[in-house]
Symmetry: C2
Subunit: 409 residues, 2 copies
């Protein structure tokens, strides 16, 4: 029941020179489903990553972070579904390292140049032997034109594969970005595992690569929930192979930096929104836009208070223009000196509240009309300044409860 | 489907000398249901209150706060259900004042000695004329032995009336406390209206009265959710008539202060827990206890992260010992330097996690056994210090979604 979301066409996903992908059915948790992905990179690729800040971060996150910090250049990423290898203590770390060892052995590269990623159930031992047994099939399958299959291989409770490409001209050179993502798409993805891998053939130095990634993460995955970055396994990786032939982007001040950063941000936002559209039990896609705040931080605070309220979410599910619930969420968002008499609230184009109360022109029928839509924008005008922020969320439905009550059964 | 909660017996609710209660069926939102309560106080009663901190606080909250601050001694409290008079702007304030005016006129007291309280739908104009028409019936009904009926009159989506009494000996004098509460009992009561009125015949000065109330609020209603005090209408009022004949408690250092404060706290905790037991759609009553924290604040932070997680709540609904969800909530609670290897997690008496992973002795069957119970204690031992905190919550069920999707229909 994803909201206005279709799987991408394979031919819309452009290969990236220097990147090959191979998948396998390793039977990690269930038989006969794609559950193992190997992304192999040619020598010379640069990789940056942002990871969960959860104190209970998963073993593969610790190992991937360690390996990245060694700075020796990544040659492979191994991603399994079915098991998150989180909350597994010291044995979990050994299992993540064993995964790297095995991939490294098969590829003939050092183990610290392999990064592990896992998603699935928590606190179960990772079946390393099944991953090891599946890796040769991944290697046999390696090809550049394999992004759709890769997107399918990292799905867990996702119902639609998530992948997209962008092309952007840097001077006289076209560069390409292609990415895949998965999100268990919890309504609070507080502990959903969100994984995203984007590769580009652009040539870009390490510092601007990291800067572009940080910017894109803030405007995409960190705008789908306040705790989007705090799952045990979340990771967003940006790979640049440098094969496009553009003059290398040396710094954030390079004239081409903004073009590449914005293409990455746009691609990441599409994938982040896809996670919400495919949110567990989602029937509505909600954009919450907060404007005229004193700071971006307070705009996000208000937007997330609305986006997290189970009462607001159930009202959307019911197509009920229950404005009081939205106003109450704004009121408890923690903006201490908020003057509610300066506030305006809109549902799409309909002004529903102003001066601390229902707008005199508001008709319930107008609110009702907007609430029936599958895509709704809630716009809050704070009247305090010039900052703004946008977050995306979905409604809270019976299906959400069903999915999460039955996840392990 | 309240969890282990029965309505109180009328004869277990002791009258408080100096307090009379009267109810009416005023047809405020629905015909023929108790929806209006008048609490009349003899001259000389002292009243303290704590109110919502929501910036969108309701008109009656503003008026009640103003009237209390005048310090002239409260003579009556008027409580209506069916309409919250919140998000109603200037007309809402006029309506709340008009309610006081009418009660004051009928009782022959100044209007600023009457406090208004409202609960129900938000952003609808308060039908003052129906309240005015109902007040004479309240006055005709005034009696000391009317607490159960009063508890029934303030119910909204509550399924069980909530009231309790305590007796405590202060020196040679027995004093009595009786209280009623209502809670729409949202799983996050972020904007549930929680109302609680407790009266005692004890003699106590204004400052220790307020101190006792603040202490009790923290240990009861502010421990059922992090935003329990941020609804638009929440109020917790403590009335002392001074008629018991005890030597007046002059300050917090008075030997009798702690006895009265603890009796109030105990009574308030029972009523707060009753709100959770009657939580919308609740099938389980969950106590979250966090121990060995560096501060009470961080213990509450961790406890609320667990208590607010929709994933944890749905796992309880499913009786699924999905420990990873609890560990992930602890991990993202925001305790930056948390060392997960020192942490222990218990479900009742079963140690399920230690040293950052599943406890070696843990058997899924043991977790399963505890999860089947209707009352469960989640105990987290942080291993960082000696502070502790307890919060109470319930599970997230299909019934919750149904109730909140259909509330206005």
């Amino acid at each position: 029941m994803a909201v206005n979301l279709k799987p991408p066409h394979a031919d819309a996903l452009h290969p990236i020179a220097g990147v090959q992908l191979g998948i396998a059915r390793a039977g990690i948790r269930k038989a006969n489903r794609k559950d193992l992905l190997l992304i192999a990179l040619d020598e010379g690729a640069r990789v940056a990553g942002v990871f969960t800040r959860n104190r209970f971060c998963a073993a593969p996150v610790e190992v991937a972070r360690d390996h990245l910090q060694l700075g020796d250049g990544v040659r492979a990423l191994v991603v399994n579904t079915g098991n998150a290898n989180a909350g597994t203590g010291e044995p979990g770390l050994r299992a993540a390292r064993a995964t790297c060892d095995e991939a490294a052995r098969l590829l003939g590269v050092p183990a610290h140049r392999v990064l592990p990623f896992s998603t699935g159930v928590i606190m179960e031992p990772l079946p390393v032997e099944r991953i090891a047994a599946g890796l040769p099939a991944c290697i046999a399958d390696l090809k550049a034109d394999n992004w759709l299959s890769a997107a399918e291989a990292i799905m867990t409770t996702d119902t639609v594969a998530k992948a997209a490409s962008r092309r952007v001209r840097l001077g006289s050179t076209d560069v390409t970005l292609t990415g895949i993502a998965k999100g268990a798409g919890m309504i609070h993805p507080d502990m959903a595992t969100m994984l995203c891998f984007v590769a580009t053939d652009a040539a870009i130095a390490a510092a601007p690569l990291r800067a572009a990634l940080a910017h894109a993460a803030e405007q995409s995955f960190n705008s789908i929930t306040v705790d989007g970055d705090t799952s045990t396994n979340d990771a967003f990786m940006f790979i640049a192979t440098g094969r496009a032939g553009n003059r290398e982007i040396a710094s954030e001040h390079d004239a081409h930096f903004a073009s590449l950063r914005d293409a990455l941000t746009d691609l990441a936002a599409e994938l982040a929104q896809a996670i919400i559209r495919d949110g567990e039990g989602a029937t509505k896609f909600i954009t919450v836009r907060v404007e005229q705040g004193a700071s971006r931080a307070e705009c996000r605070q208000v937007a997330f208070a609305i986006a997290h309220s189970p009462l607001v979410k159930t009202a959307f599910f019911a197509s009920d223009p229950n404005l009081g619930r939205i106003l109450a969420a704004i009121g408890y968002a923690g903006v201490a000196d908020l003057d509610v008499t300066r506030l305006q609230l809109f549902l799409d184009d309909v002004r529903v509240a102003s001066a601390g109360a229902r707008d005199p022109s508001y008709q319930e029928a107008d609110g009702q009309r907007v609430m029936q839509q599958s895509e709704i924008t809630v716009r809050v005008v704070l009247g305090r300044g010039s900052a703004a922020a946008t977050v995306w969320t979905c409604d809270l439905s019976h299906e959400y409860v069903t999915i999460n009550a039955e996840y392990r059964t």
